[in-house]
């Protein structure tokens, strides 16, 4: 009897070893196609390498899947809403409505942030309040958000699993047809990392094409960089920081009291009340309305705010100067030039790039 038991154990061990080595061989055999991002010249000159997590390398299969999922309405509770419903390409992946509307008509409280150059979000803090700490983490939120897609992840994953084509696409991207929410957000994050914008007219001007912009644009850039006038560069990048954002959080003097505490709601620190992430100034031509709550419909309103409309609150950024006078009071000509400069950071090719369009 003992001999039989020992024999059984030996056979089982050999079988399990051979099974595990077989499965590891299969995993080793499968290799999705690695992809290197196409990095704009100006980024190559001035910026560090993009942040790509080691556990989610870019592959063609992963990016293609992420793109399909980005436009996939079955992720939402009633199958009507995709990421792309509120992050629209012709609007530089933001929403032209002040507040996005969820599947049941619920209205949010913030304007959707545009999505581009996320691989250079140096501190990897996403959303206006910085609550997500990676692109993958950012992609997790909307599916279960009660005023957005109003689904559960288990339901979303089941819906995708039940389709005819997705299991095979996940197998190609991640080596397994068994879909998980981890794979879903990894794929979406891969696609989002390919949304790169760095070839606007002002980029071309900085790269040596002196005809790329007008004299008004150059004048506006000087207003932007002048600490005695615009002083915009302290939060919004410069000719040597082509992200056109510092990716940090500031109170830019919009309210005396806060109904939305922004970063402060996440950290609980009163010093963070009323602070929101500086958005990039790229593609402003397509991203109206402006500010975290979309309160300004035009760039003129934005410029007027910084020029004359600042109001004091305890956490207002010290760089919001002359608050008692409402701001620095730019001249009309300076405002016109500043607007011309800001618009020169918009890239038509980004919002029409066929690689970013709905593949479904």
């Amino acid at each position: 009897m003992k001999k039989i038991i020992v024999l059984c154990i030996v056979i089982l061990s050999i079988y399990s070893c051979s099974k595990s080595s077989e499965s590891s061989t299969n995993e080793e055999e499968y290799t999705p196609t690695p992809v290197n991002l196409e990095i704009p010249t100006i980024f190559q000159q001035f910026l560090p390498a993009p942040t790509i997590p080691a556990n989610n390398p870019l592959t063609q299969e992963g990016i293609d899947l992420g793109r399909k999922l980005f436009y996939e309405p079955i992720l939402s509770g009633d199958g009507t809403q995709a990421c792309a419903s509120c992050h629209i390409q012709i609007n530089s992946f933001t929403d032209p409505r002040q507040f996005s509307v969820g599947i049941d008509g619920s209205v949010g409280t913030r304007n959707a942030m545009p999505i581009f150059n996320v691989a250079w979000s140096i501190n990897q803090k996403f959303f206006w309040d910085g609550r997500a700490h990676s692109v993958e983490n950012q992609a997790l939120g909307p599916v279960e958000n009660p005023i957005e897609m109003k689904n559960t992840w288990s339901n979303a994953v089941s819906s995708i699993q039940a389709t005819q084509d997705y299991p095979d696409l996940f197998k190609k991207a991640f080596g397994s047809p068994n879909i998980t929410k981890d794979f879903v957000v990894k794929a979406i994050a891969q696609f989002e990392r390919t949304l790169i914008s760095g070839n606007a007219p002002f980029d071309r001007y900085l790269m040596g094409d002196s005809d790329a912009v007008s004299q008004s644009v150059i004048n506006g850039f000087n207003v932007f960089m002048d600490p005695e006038r615009g002083d915009c560069f302290h939060c919004h990048g410069s000719d040597t920081n082509p992200l056109w954002t510092d990716n940090k959080f500031h109170n830019n003097g919009m309210d005396e009291t806060f109904t939305d505490k922004g970063l402060g709601d996440i950290t609980g620190d009163p010093l963070d009340f009323g602070k929101f992430k500086s958005p990039s100034l790229r593609n402003l031509a397509y991203t109206a309305p402006y500010m975290h709550d979309g309160r300004f419909a035009t760039l003129e309103e934005v410029i007027n705010h910084y020029s004359e409309g600042l109001v004091y609150s305890e956490t207002i950024d010290p760089l919001m100067k002359f608050v008692a006078q409402g701001g620095v009071h730019l001249t009309l000509e300076e405002k016109i030039d500043l607007k011309a400069f800001l618009l020169s950071l918009s890239e038509d090719a980004f919002i029409t790039n066929p690689n970013f369009q709905n593949p479904n």
């Binding site: 000159q45 001035f46 910026l47 560090p48 250079w120 140096i122 000087n222 960089m225 002048d226 600490p227 005695e228 002083d231 560069f233 302290h234 939060c235 990048g237 410069s238 000719d239 040597t240 920081n241 992200l243 954002t245 510092d246 990716n247 940090k248 009163p270 010093l271 305890e314 207002i316 950024d317 010290p318 760089l319 919001m320 100067k321 002359f322 608050v323």
Partner: protein, 257 residues
């Protein structure tokens, strides 16, 4: 023949002994720790936003941001050899990971008697857009003001004569003399300090924040508060005041347990 054998044996023994006696020198990692204080009281990010500080001129103030750049750290051996530590450190009080600089540059053991560094960048290093990490950190100094990088961003609020909070932004970098004419504004520090490196260790570089407002210029925040970057007088006063801001603190050797 016997003689030859004797000499060969003696030579072998001699070489063997001398090899054994000669100690092989080892290299050890050294890190640099940046600490801040207000006239001796520790100052960290936990002190941000508190109106607990009064400068030499009498203004009560708070601090909400403090970032500064240290470069070209040099350790000098007692024989005069200079060991230049590669890299630079952008210290940001709100980011604990920046408070220790690990250059990944092991140093051959020995005795040292001097520590030097540059506050900011010297003329050679202060090149427009040359450092991708600093560009992404938005640390640049406008080319209209001489270009390169900030040396410090020190911000907060002070209480004016009516006890009303007013902003200050004590930003330091290249000084603009006039249109297109600029003057370098960094400060080199040299501290005599005897120490030995014979294990991994850490050198503390201290900043007394209060000194920015003291010596030799008593800083009046009612006069010099914001828009100081293009202000030549303010920039040169900052450079002068920097001289007493930094010091060397503890040198810790991490002995093996």
């Amino acid at each position: 023949m016997k003689n030859i054998a004797f000499y060969l044996l003696a030579a072998t023994l001699f070489i063997g002994c001398s090899t054994k006696d000669k100690k092989e020198l080892q290299s050890f990692p050294i890190t640099f720790k940046f600490t801040q204080n207000w006239d001796g009281s520790d100052f960290t990010v936990a002190n941000f936003g508190q109106y607990n500080y009064t400068n030499q001129h009498g203004e009560t103030l708070s601090v909400t941001k403090l970032r500064y750049l240290i470069s070209k750290i040099v350790l000098t051996r007692t024989n005069g050899e200079k060991i230049e530590i590669p890299g630079y450190q952008l210290v940001d009080l709100s980011d604990a990971s920046t408070l220790v600089f690990n250059p990944n540059f092991p140093i051959l053991e020995g005795d040292f008697n001097k520590i030097s560094f540059v506050y900011g960048f010297n003329e050679e290093d202060n090149q427009d857009g040359a450092y991708p990490d600093l560009n992404a950190a938005n640390w640049n100094w406008p080319s209209q003001l001489g270009g390169g990088y900030h040396f410090m961003q020190f911000e907060g609020k002070y209480l004016d004569a009516n006890d009303e909070p007013q902003p200050y932004a004590y930003h330091n970098g290249t000084a603009k003399v006039s249109e297109g004419v600029f003057e370098q504004n960094y400060v080199s520090f040299n501290f005599n300090k005897n120490f030995s490196i014979n294990q991994a260790g850490e050198i503390e570089i201290k900043m007394n924040i209060a000194e920015w407002f003291k010596n030799p210029n008593t800083w009046d925040l009612n006069t010099f508060n914001v828009t100081l970057m293009p202000n030549y007088q303010a920039q040169k006063m900052m450079q002068e005041n920097a001289a007493t801001v930094f010091s060397i603190g503890e040198i810790t050797i991490f002995y093996d347990e």
